[in-house]
Symmetry: D2
Subunit: 356 residues, 4 copies
């Protein structure tokens, strides 16, 4: 099988590097074009990453693949749609607003940016949760008169929550969710990111706009194709001294009373949407449940099944919400919650025939 | 005025050292006896602290007062009640169970241990919140036929929560509380405490027994003298890589609807119980409220007014609980929540005539 | 006594905030003018600190003094020399290069920037070490035809090293120094500073230009007024996950053999230059020596005597260098090594009549 | 090929768990017996790991292999030599002193403990550095009249240093070494290990006995089979807030002058002892050299080639030592420096015919 030719915009940032990693040795996709800001155009990717002080600028522990290092970086605006079968987007939201629709006129754009997440004709996809929302792509293409389309992934904090709510919604119904997050610093990227002076021996009790995103996105993802779910959601999002992996303490009011055992079983047995099973990036278990009261921990659990499994533990009754249960989850914010999650969406869309 | 003679049991542990610090230069109290485990009996306090490997074993950044360093340590069981006007207890719960009642036969014991917190005739005191609960001491003395008594302070995680709930209870009534804590490692002490391998780049999602303590203690403190409050409480207690200062994300269902401004005003203007004002260890403000969305932070706010002020921020509406509001608080777990909080209780009891 | 009127350029940055703190309640000096970048000109200091996202931007745990909060910020270039008796400079080196000489034409400038440190007619002052170097000010004024002058303080990493070398130089002579530093993140400031993603669970083995600075500055400080000391210096400067306080492992080859006891005594008994004793910011001990093998530690020792004492421990023989001894030191990089160190220099210069 | 039957003593501790991981899927060795303290005898390994509070007690991020989880744990003293072809030892030094000689009477013991490292007839093996030292095993067996033998690996801090000194010794000769280490907390294990309260926002400037170990071991490893090398070694060993990977700043005086390029080339091109190449656990490069001035970093480089490569950077001239060069290295203290390093030794000894 010939691999699909993929472009990547925002290639030099931390999110972009994670896409490079997620696409390395992919059986269906091949990175054939890298784009970044105009000042890096014409340089090799390795050169573009290099800081003036000599720092390599490749921030992952794994090695930068040699053939990618040598690829020539283009300016985002110069990217030609005809050279690609699809484009992944790792740019900031303001750049996404301009660049993504330009590309989507001709080809599919799978984006980690928030720019289009809240548009009515744009599905917000987590393959195991709402693979059928992809049908909205038809509407989007028609309405915008595009040959391509834009499909964003949700905020990384929404992802872990939604993945664990899906089996509960399907088994018992969900009517209310309260969630306090303890988020990793990688979520803030590197420019400027969270500085050490702020996070060592500290907690930052606020992440700009994050809580609103989680509240809206959760309803959109759990809802019908164009009808947000009626669940009430209330969050507090904080930042802690963790590198990768968002921890979330969730309290869920179910529609139908369920015991801790039933909740645990619902999560353990959840297979996710059929269309999402067996994709190259799909884990065997979308959710894993631990009986160890000291799990999940971000450092020990974030990389479960390649960072694609959401780890749940501490399932208990909650005495405040109606039919309340509570639990703690860990989700890898830069794998399932970002680049690899976006690649998973691309795989789903290829499987469903939206990407060809 | 002659200072009251105070004994301290559990003097060598971290909690004990914090009592030494809290009582240093106290206008009313003077440490005149130190007790620890039998193997340290007969040594000077400085010697008793010293580890075999040469480490000093005094873990506070401030200097160990020279006259305390020279005091001779006794075995806890050898302490003679007649030498003291009151005793502070910093021992573990199992030791407290034996030692505290023995001393309480003759003199007041103010304890940081949980051993007697849940007994019906034992008040759980936070002076600004429930100073009147001290009346229960009479019942306790009569019932147990003691000349002294035991008054424990609450768990450090309860303290911050209860201090912020008190103004809400008094202004609007409180019917439900959900709280996720991000607790400092100092709360676990040093033997063994939380090890670096577990907490660096990590969150530990469970603290044994902590959630149950907060749920029961909150009801006891906010309730009548012998009638627990009817509020529903549900918690998730986690540990983060913070040295001192517990951060708590609270969601509160009020009895009466109140705006964010009203909630903020209720906290800002709260004076606390009259009997608790103006004590040597009382801060000017029991609660301070910040408008900076990035506050409170444990590192910046834990030491507010000597670690005795609870810092609140991010007051917002909550859309899930009835008349819901949410906020974040920071409380100094080893000052207001431990040794200094216990000293504050002793001050209150002296003021009220229970300690003479 | 009327206090001297002090201006502060670079007032809004982290270094500037530390000057605000160091000058609060100073008996001789009073902050009467604050300058920052033009975009903040005309705002109150509190407003100038405020970030667009609502963050207060005052990063110290102590409160911003109310009267300073209200002061109006000027653009650095607009500052009028006649309004001040001296100016403290907390700007970056490139801004210093322009702004400091402009001011120095008329008034003394005490600077934390490196811009003029290596000029022949500029003394690099650590008051207890080389208070007599201030005589070079005369040469500077004459040669540049200035009414004022520029006196920079050394790099914060040099300071701790030089303070501990001075007693050794004076007692035994120093011929070679090797030093590996474990530096705090505060040394890098906040824009961009060291990001959490780089320093959590990590060491950064390089700090741009730092090693060269330490090597040159150490020779200049320990040397004669215009003759660098002949000591050989070799360093490795690294960054660790510490907020404040540089730790340095030093290995020193003495000119004259000395035992560990003699080295320890030389440091303990060192009084520093007479002119530096008893200044408002002088500590009682420039160097303190611990016998605890686990000290000094940055968190426990950085704040010794207001952050002005250099803490030394682990003095041992070194078997490689001729007459070698080795030890570990902790120096507060943003107190003795920055703002408070600069204020100490100003105090010395006032005492010596250079600042009036 | 039938795999050799391996026993593991000290199986439940952190070091033991790392042996379990290192031996998982090993092509030559198979774990067929696990031993721990008598109180765990008779339990399954999973049960033996379990803490009373419900914590699983398996501390690696990878999963505990299911067939190992089910193996029955024996008391160390009950282990029967005839059941094994060799035994790996992960016990503490005092237990090693008793248990290892008992086993060595009959079978080879490869040990991570320090108990026998300094005995004259015991080789201290780092396969690429001194594979030929294994000949000392003959002497040991004869002298002690054992059928088996004991071969310990060096201290983890020595390993990284010795691996980088070996190419320098071979190319230029080494006459003096000064080294300051910034060591990871994993080196201290878990009981009690380094507590979070001591290491967050801190450096601990002392690790008991570590410096002496590095000094003696380096001479033994670089020396002849029974003649320590004459190199002078002086160290300062510190602990920093890093999970895994020791960072060391080394200063080396060579016998023959060499440029930075020559030193770099010597390290890059070093193949190590022939007998150590191509073993199952051998990396392709024993040493890798980076030109990025910000490398090596423990978090980014510790896992290079499965944690078996020592990463070097910042090679510079040193102006103090004769023919001095300096560099920074990162070595994985619990892989190359512990369990995997011991497995590598076992592989070498099998290759050489000492283990059959």
């Amino acid at each position: 099988m010939k691999k699909l030719r993929c472009g990547l915009i925002g290639a030099t940032g931390l999110a972009g590097q994670q896409f490079v990693s997620a696409l390395k040795d992919h059986p269906w996709f091949e990175l054939t074009g890298l784009a970044a800001s105009p000042r890096n155009a014409g340089k090799s990717y390795a050169e573009a990453l290099k800081a003036p002080n000599g720092m390599m600028g490749w921030f992952l522990a794994e090695e930068l693949p040699a053939h990618i290092a040598k690829m020539t970086v283009q300016a985002g605006a110069e990217l030609k749609a005809q050279d690609f079968d699809l484009v992944f987007s790792a740019v900031e939201s303001d750049v996404a607003k301009e660049l993504e629709p330009k590309l989507a006129r001709d080809i599919p754009v799978i984006s980690a940016a928030s720019a289009f997440r809240y548009e009515e004709d744009v599905p917000l996809l987590i393959p195991p949760v709402n693979a059928d929302h992809s049908r909205l792509i038809e509407t989007q293409k028609k309405r915008r008169d595009w040959k391509g389309f834009i499909v964003p992934i949700p905020n990384c904090t929404t992802t872990g929550l939604a993945v664990t709510l899906a089996p509960l919604e399907s088994a018992f119904g969900v009517q209310a969710v309260m969630m306090t997050s303890l988020q990793a610093v990688s979520g803030a990227g590197r420019s400027p990111g969270v500085i050490g002076l702020d996070i060592i021996d500290n907690v930052i009790p606020h992440i700009a706009k994050e809580e609103g995103k989680v509240e809206i996105e959760t309803k959109k993802i759990l809802g019908g194709i164009q009808t947000p779910h009626g669940v009430k959601v209330s969050c507090t999002c904080t930042r802690v001294a963790v590198l990768e992996g968002h921890t979330e303490a969730a309290y869920v009011g179910l529609k139908k009373k369920a015991s801790v055992q039933e909740v645990s079983a619902a999560m353990r047995e959840w297979k996710g949407h059929e269309a999402a099973r067996g994709l190259p990036t799909s884990p065997k278990h979308w959710v894993s449940v631990s009986d160890d009261p000291f799990r999940p921990q971000p450092r020990l659990d974030r990389d479960a099944e390649g960072g694609m499994t959401t780890s749940v533990g501490r399932i208990r009754e909650d005495g405040v919400l109606e039919n309340g249960v509570k639990y703690v989850l860990v989700s890898h914010n830069t794998k399932m919650g970002a680049a690899k999650g976006a690649v998973l969406v691309a795989e789903l869309l290829k499987q469903q025939g939206f990407v060809v």
